[in-house]
Every structure is written in structure tokens, then in C-alpha cells.
């Protein structure tokens, strides 16, 4: 018989409802405005590791389903919205596993006037309220790699990172030596991240390599670093935040660099979001923002190891 039953227990459904209410309470008391923005867009993210779904209306041109609400939320900020948050569904093609579902729920918020350090403080308070977590630990990306993998992630060459992966027993992987970021991602997922956020203390990993800035400001220095952070509990990555890039021209150059990389890799080349660039040109206030996966937060709250246990109906091909 066709399997139709939910994979989440009644208790998990109730915890989800409770979590949503607690998140809304948290932001209401802080005067952060809840907003809604469209799921469908005629432009898409250019990040080479995020694939957008296409939605085809009958007889019309297709739209992209958002991979995060970041671009329209930044347009609201540029229009003077002040601090805002959103809880919405996002869609990422090809992401499916015990920790991934191609359609999942994000909590995303932006704080004008905050940098990424101040936003980490607020995330820490949210995790304390929602999960009863102890105060978070903070570790720079560089310190974490030095501690867990005995290598400097900002200075090591691709060949050195490959060699480190081999000596750590991760094995040979079909990445080119020139793909430095690929090797860093391999070491992060296999060696560094599993050790982050243990004993009830979440862990903030911050100041990423400039090559992994995504939409974060790059802080000049030797070497420069991206003002980006991620938060981990029990090795599970919960969210990704930035001290947001506000420079329209630099943002355009990053989009163009992504698209050039996509062309080299034979990936789809979606149109970049000109409405975001226009908003940045008009002026995005200095701000920090973060997206947190609520399904993963629920996994931690319930001690579940499979995302299917917190979703009524997970995507199962």
C-alpha cells in the first residue's frame, strides 16, 4: 500500500508549533518586525553551490524558487524597514539526506547597526531561550582548523590541504588542487565541524577565508577575512550569518565572478538580481543578518539525528 503516513511524531509536530511561537515571541519583545517576501523570483542566487528550482507557470516564463529570502529582505532594509525577520520555506535542488531536505524552513533576520559579533550575541540569546543552551564558544575559522586539523586554512595551498585530508584518513577525492575552497569544505565537513558545539555550548565559527565571503563584507588585513560566521551544535551546522556587504559594485562583481565560475563548470547561469543591486546602489544600511534552519533546530531540541523525524512529510525520491 502507498505509504502516506507522516514521519514526524505528534510530539515533534507540537514542538515545531511551540518553537515557531517562541521565535515570534523573542522577536516581538525586541521590536523586530515580521515580514513576508515572495517565494518566486525572476532572478536567482548565483552561488555555485546552490541550485534553484524552476517553477513553470502555464504558458509563461519560468520563475526561480528562492534558496533564501535574502535579496528581497535587503530591499526592505534599503527602503527603511528597520530590523526585520521572516520565517519561510526555501528550496535547494539536490540537497537531500539525513540532514538535508530540498524544501526546508528558514528563520532569517537582519539587524541594522549590528556587526557580525553583535549578531552572534543575539543568536546566543535566542539559542539559550529556545534550547536552554549554555553560553556559546567562539572560534575563528583559522583557530578551528589549527586546532582540529593542524593546518592554516588561510595560507595553506590546495596541494597542502589535499595532503592534510589524506593524512587525516579522509582519502582521495576528485577535487583539483586549484579548488582550494573545495578542499577547505572537505576538511570542514569531515574533520573540523564534527567537533564543534559540544557539551551544551553552541559554537560560533567566524571570520571565514575571503574566498568564501558569499555576501559578507571582507575585512582588509593580512590575510583579509570575510566577516561571516556559522553556528554549530553537536557538529550540526544551524545557521550562516554575515556582516552584510553593502557595496553595490562589489556585489555585482561577485555575482559576475560566480556566473563566470558557473560557465566554467557547465552549471546553469541564472539572471542576477538587478533589483537587489539597485537597492544596494540606493543604500543598504550597515547591518548583520543570519539564516537559521528551523528544522535542524528542532532536530537538536528533540535529539533526532534524521531530519525526517521533524518533518511531517520529508522529500523522499
Amino acid at each position: 500500500m502507498t505509504s502516506w503516513r507522516p514521519t514526524a511524531s505528534r510530539e515533534a509536530l507540537a514542538r515545531r508549533a511551540g518553537l515557531l511561537a517562541a521565535v515570534r515571541q523573542f522577536f516581538q519583545t525586541r521590536g523586530v518586525l515580521e515580514v513576508e517576501t515572495p517565494l518566486l523570483s525572476s532572478a536567482a542566487v548565483t552561488d555555485i553551490h546552490l541550485e534553484s528550482f524552476l517553477a513553470h507557470p502555464p504558458g509563461g516564463t519560468p520563475y526561480y524558487l528562492q534558496t533564501s529570502p535574502e535579496f528581497p529582505m535587503k530591499r526592505l532594509l534599503a527602503a527603511g524597514s528597520g530590523a526585520i525577520y521572516q520565517i519561510c520555506k526555501v528550496f535547494r535542488g539536490g540537497e537531500s539526506g539525513t540532514r538535508h531536505n530540498p524544501e526546508f524552513t528558514l528563520l532569517e533576520w537582519y539587524r541594522p547597526g549590528f556587526d557580525h559579533y553583535q549578531l552572534m550575541d543575539e543568536v546566543d540569546e535566542l539559542l539559550n531561550q529556545l534550547l536552554g543552551c549554555l553560553p556559546a564558544q567562539r572560534l575563528s575559522y583559522r583557530e578551528a582548523f589549527q586546532q582540529q586539523a593542524a593546518i592554516d586554512p588561510l595560507l595553506a595551498t590546495g596541494a597542502e590541504l589535499r595532503h592534510r585530508a589524506l593524512t587525516l584518513g579522509i582519502g582521495e577525492v576528485s577535487l583539483a588542487d586549484s579548488d582550494r575552497d573545495g578542499w577547505l569544505d572537505l576538511l570542514l565537513t569531515h574533520q573540523v565541524a564534527p567537533a564543534l558545539g559540544s557539551n551544551g555550548h553552541p559554537c560560533f565559527l567566524y571570520d571565514y577565508p575571503a574566498s568564501q565571503a558569499a555576501l559578507a563584507k571582507i575585512r582588509p588585513g593580512d590575510p583579509p577575512v570575510a566577516e561571516r560566521f556559522e553556528v554549530f551544535i553537536g557538529g550540526l551546522e544551524l545557521g550562516n550569518g554575515y556582516h552584510e556587504l553593502t557595496n553595490a559594485e562589489e556585489q555585482r562583481q561577485r555575482f559576475l565572478a560566480d556566473l563566470a565560475q558557473r560557465r566554467r563548470r557547465g552549471l546553469p547561469e541564472p539572471p542576477m538580481d538587478e533589483t537587489l543591486l539597485a537597492a544596494l546602489t540606493e543604500g543598504l544600511p550597515d547591518c548583520a543578518g543570519i539564516a537559521i534552519g528551523l528544522d535542524r533546530l528542532l532536530m537538536i531540541a528533540l535529539g533526532e539525528r534524521d531530519i525526517g523525524a521533524v518533518l511531517a512529510f520529508p522529500f523522499r525520491p
Partner: protein, 189 residues
Amino acid sequence: MASFSTNEIKSGLKLLLDNDPCVVLENEYVKPGKGQAFNRIKTRNLRTGRVVERTYKSGDSLEGADVVDVELQYSYNDGDHWYFMDQETFEQYPADREAVADAVKWIKPEDVCVVTLFNGAPLTVAAPNQVVLRVTETDPGLRGDTSSGGSKPATLETGTVVRVPLFVSIDDLIRVDTRTGDYVSRAKE
């Protein structure tokens, strides 16, 4: 043989890794928040039984292995090979010592075994979980003793020695569990 992308690989799929057929036990998708996705694929080598886990870049493609399980009837052995027959086509499949491995301790002609074929040739042979074999040699038992816990060695018609209860005698048929090598019961003709 077809090849499979990392996102199509599910447990149970047979892959060719380093020229050996392997069965997929687990395929775990691993991806940082932003960045390169990987698949950690755990497999068991069907020839050696060794379990290994390897990491692939998501989207890499891996070659499938032509591996099938078939029920074949054991016919005879000529010293080098053990011959198994498809009861419908009467095709004969010679299995070498490595393929039959421990199964030789238990099988006799006409037994039906599950034979795993790799590229059409026997890779492994699994004896039935339980077999009935005749005792060819054992010390005389204690007459009438059908309950005491004692045991003694007995040689079976395949040459294998197992522990049996004291009441078992030469020419008795006994049922043996091939997974543990334990005596199960006496059996009828």
C-alpha cells in the same frame, strides 16, 4: 554497465570499486552551509567482505557492477572447481575455491545454493542456512541417553566434524545450522 551519479546511489546498489564488486550499505550527503557538497558512501566488498567508507564530490559518477544472486543446484567438484547448474537452462557455472569458501563444508550434490554471479561467474556461494547430512563416523553413543547435556565429535558425509549429542550414531541424518556450525536436530530420510 551503467554508471550512477552520487545522488542516485542507494543502499543495495552494486558498484565496481577498484575492479571489485561492492554493495552500497550507506550513502550520506554532507554539505557545508555554503560550499561544496560531498557524499560519504559506505560499501562492502563482495569478494573480501571488507567494509570501507569513501568520500566523493557530489555529482561524481560511479560505475555499476554486474552482480546478481541466483539459485543454482550443486552438481559435483573436480578438485579445482565446484560446478553449479541452473535448473532451467542446465547451464553449468564453475566456482573456484575462493568462491565456494566455507560453503564446501556443508553442501552435497543436488543441494540448491544462492550463488552470487559477478560478470556471469560465481563470486560467492552461500550454503542453505540449514542442511541435512549423514553421520559417517562417531563414537558409539550411550544407549537410551536422549537428554543429558554431553556431546561428542561426529564426522559428516562432507568430511566436516561437528559436535553432536551423545545419542547420535553412525548413519543418522542430522540437521546442522551452517551459519554457526551447530547441531540442530536429528532428521528423517
